[in-house]
């Protein structure tokens, strides 16, 4: 007999949660309500089961899996290159970051060196993506607590970024830009020009956002002291990314375990100690500013040169060579039909994504496709905090808390 999912289990979990909340004039009857999966403030299809006493949340059980597509299992029947479009669909607010994270993991496994220019382009696109992800995070978060203008403004700036991706990768949303061994196409002068223009636009826009939100009495009063996640709890629960830094822990994978050329870059890791919803918002805004700094440095340092490594047995050769040379043509066919053959072994590689630490754990048995892949997705891990934070809060604050944690369900459910 297969143990099918049912609501009884959820209810049991809901009622068995130990609550140490005491309410002065407790009601006789508690109420159980469902928030989501169709609730607009749950950022996708997150379902929350709440046990309420009046307006106070006594216990809460999140239910995930409404957007489960089995990406970890699908990887086992795909070659390493074929899987790249699927990484777009993990954290769909910052697609390029996932692309970069995945190919870095595969390159570590297969021992492929990447040309310097390609690494710089990867850093630029990853940081642009981070800005993109944070713009959505800030916009939707502000919309959840009442400032609908904000989401329109942040999507206006996102459009500028998407135009760059259109020029660079050929798609606005599902970019699939990186390849194992480099990137798909070169960043031309027009794209660099557009990036410079975008940075200026974002800086101007950030000034506007801060004018709208930072001294906005409704926004500040609504969020201050709401949903406090303490430093110790955040570390215990394995929270990463802006949510961790909002709780006063200075942990950023770009600084802690530098990958690509982040160790050469001059940037700061913003930290706020309060651990409430407002602190998490401030961390995101500051991170956008740091990203702008990093992109400027990358654009200045980026050398000319190849964008993909010349290694016909592992990476597709240049088109001109495939058209004219027999050897490269054979390798082209071999690579597509049988894939890259990395050595046996396993590898874990993690990068800093807008949502937190995204890690790929790949086990290879020497064939063209991974034997097992595990994705450590930051949204999934960050959602663990929801129980700790929401207990004892008012029901109207749940919306603000979920917005400030900023889960993307595409990534949490994989």
């Amino acid at each position: 007999m297969i143990d099918v999912h049912n609501d009884e289990k959820l209810l049991k979990a809901l009622f068995e949660q130990d609550t140490d909340i005491t309410i002065e004039d407790a009601l006789e009857n508690e109420m159980v309500i469902n928030m989501g999966p169709q609730h607009p403030a749950t950022h996708g299809v997150l379902r929350l089961l709440l046990r309420l006493d009046g307006e106070t949340v006594m216990s809460i059980v999140p239910e995930l899996g409404y957007l489960h597509r089995g990406y970890e299992k699908m990887a086992e029947s795909m070659s390493f290159n074929e899987y790249i479009p699927h990484t777009d669909r993990l954290d769909y607010t910052a697609t390029m970051c996932n692309n970069v994270a995945y190919v870095l993991a595969v390159e570590k496994l297969a021992g492929i060196e990447v040309p310097t220019r390609a690494t710089y382009i990867r850093m630029i696109i990853a940081e642009i993506s981070r800005i993109m992800g944070h713009l959505v995070a800030i916009g939707t978060f502000a919309m959840d607590v009442g400032a609908v203008t904000m989401v329109l403004w942040s999507f206006r700036e996102r459009e500028i970024i998407q135009n760059i991706f259109d020029r660079l990768a050929g798609a606005r949303f599902t970019t699939s830009y990186t390849r194992v061994g480099g990137v798909a196409s070169d960043m031309d002068d027009v794209a660099i020009e557009m990036t410079h223009g975008m940075l200026k636009d974002i800086e101007d826009a950030l000034f506007e956002y801060e004018k709208l939100l930072n001294s906005n009495r409704i926004f500040v009063d609504r969020l201050e002291g709401v949903g406090i996640l303490t430093k110790e709890k955040a570390i215990d629960l394995g929270i990463t990314g802006p949510n961790l830094r909002g709780s006063g822990v200075q942990y950023d994978v770009r600084r802690a375990k530098p990958y690509m050329f982040y160790d050469k870059m001059d940037f700061e890791v913003p930290v706020y100690n309060e651990g409430d919803c407002l602190a998490r918002y401030f961390v995101r805004v500051d991170e956008v500013k740091e990203s702008i700094k990093i992109i400027r440095q990358c654009l200045n340092q980026m050398p000319k040169g190849e964008i993909i490594i010349n290694s016909p047995k592992k990476v597709l050769s240049h088109k001109a060579e495939i058209y004219t040379k027999m050897e490269e043509l054979i390798h082209d066919f071999m690579l597509i039909n049988f894939g890259i053959h990395p050595p046996e072994g396993d590898v874990f590689f993690s990068v800093e994504n807008p949502k937190g630490e995204l890690g790929f754990y790949i086990v290879s048995n020497g064939t063209g496709h991974p034997w097992k892949m595990k994705i450590r997705s930051p949204s999934f891990c960050n959602l663990q905090a929801i129980e700790t934070i929401c207990k004892g809060q008012m029901i109207s604050d749940i919306v603000a808390i979920v917005g400030s944690l900023d889960p993307v369900m595409g990534e949490a459910d994989k």
Partner: protein
């Protein structure tokens, strides 16, 4: 790095709330005079750059034959399993041609991998992004819809030579 102090204490003028309302209204009126950032789509068409990955098409040579030699690489690499190719022999110099070439546009995810692996530059991504079909059968594009003369694809072919 020292801990940052966030600005949260409001000044007296900000606490009064009324001046802030007028400031906000002033901004609203200013925005009315700014140029619009949106595009009025059906009237104004979005012209994509050469890098844009629209609908995949087959390149048709000037003599009316397709470039494709039906090697099947595009069908093999397609992550969404959208392409079907059936080869047949021909008297022409290329020896093989696709008797049947179908792309299921419901499955296609526009990743551009088919174009990237093609050893003959026979399948490329066009700028076509307006895809409408009324039934599932209509969504399966055969050779009649896929073949596009090489003159119309110059932009993309040039882009592929320069940046890929």
């Amino acid at each position: 790095m020292p801990d940052k102090k966030r600005k949260k204490d409001l000044t007296f003028a900000q606490k009064l709330y009324l001046p802030e309302i007028f400031k906000g209204l002033a901004l609203t009126f200013k925005s009315m005079l700014k140029p619009s950032v949106t595009m009025e789509y059906p009237e104004v068409k979005f012209v994509p750059p050469a890098a844009y990955r629209g609908r995949p098409v087959l390149v048709e040579e000037k003599d009316g034959t397709e470039r494709c030699v039906a090697c099947g690489l595009c069908s093999r690499v397609c992550p969404a399993l959208a392409i079907e190719v059936q080869p047949e022999e021909t008297e022409l110099e290329k020896e093989r041609y696709p008797k049947l070439f179908e792309i299921n546009m419901i499955r296609c995810i526009f990743c551009g991998f088919c174009e990237e692996v093609c050893p003959e530059e026979a399948i490329v991504m066009s700028k076509d992004y307006e895809l409408v079909f009324t039934s599932r059968e209509d969504a399966i594009y055969g050779k009649d819809k896929l073949l596009v003369p090489v003159d119309q694809l110059k932009d993309r072919l040039e882009f592929l030579r320069n940046f890929k």
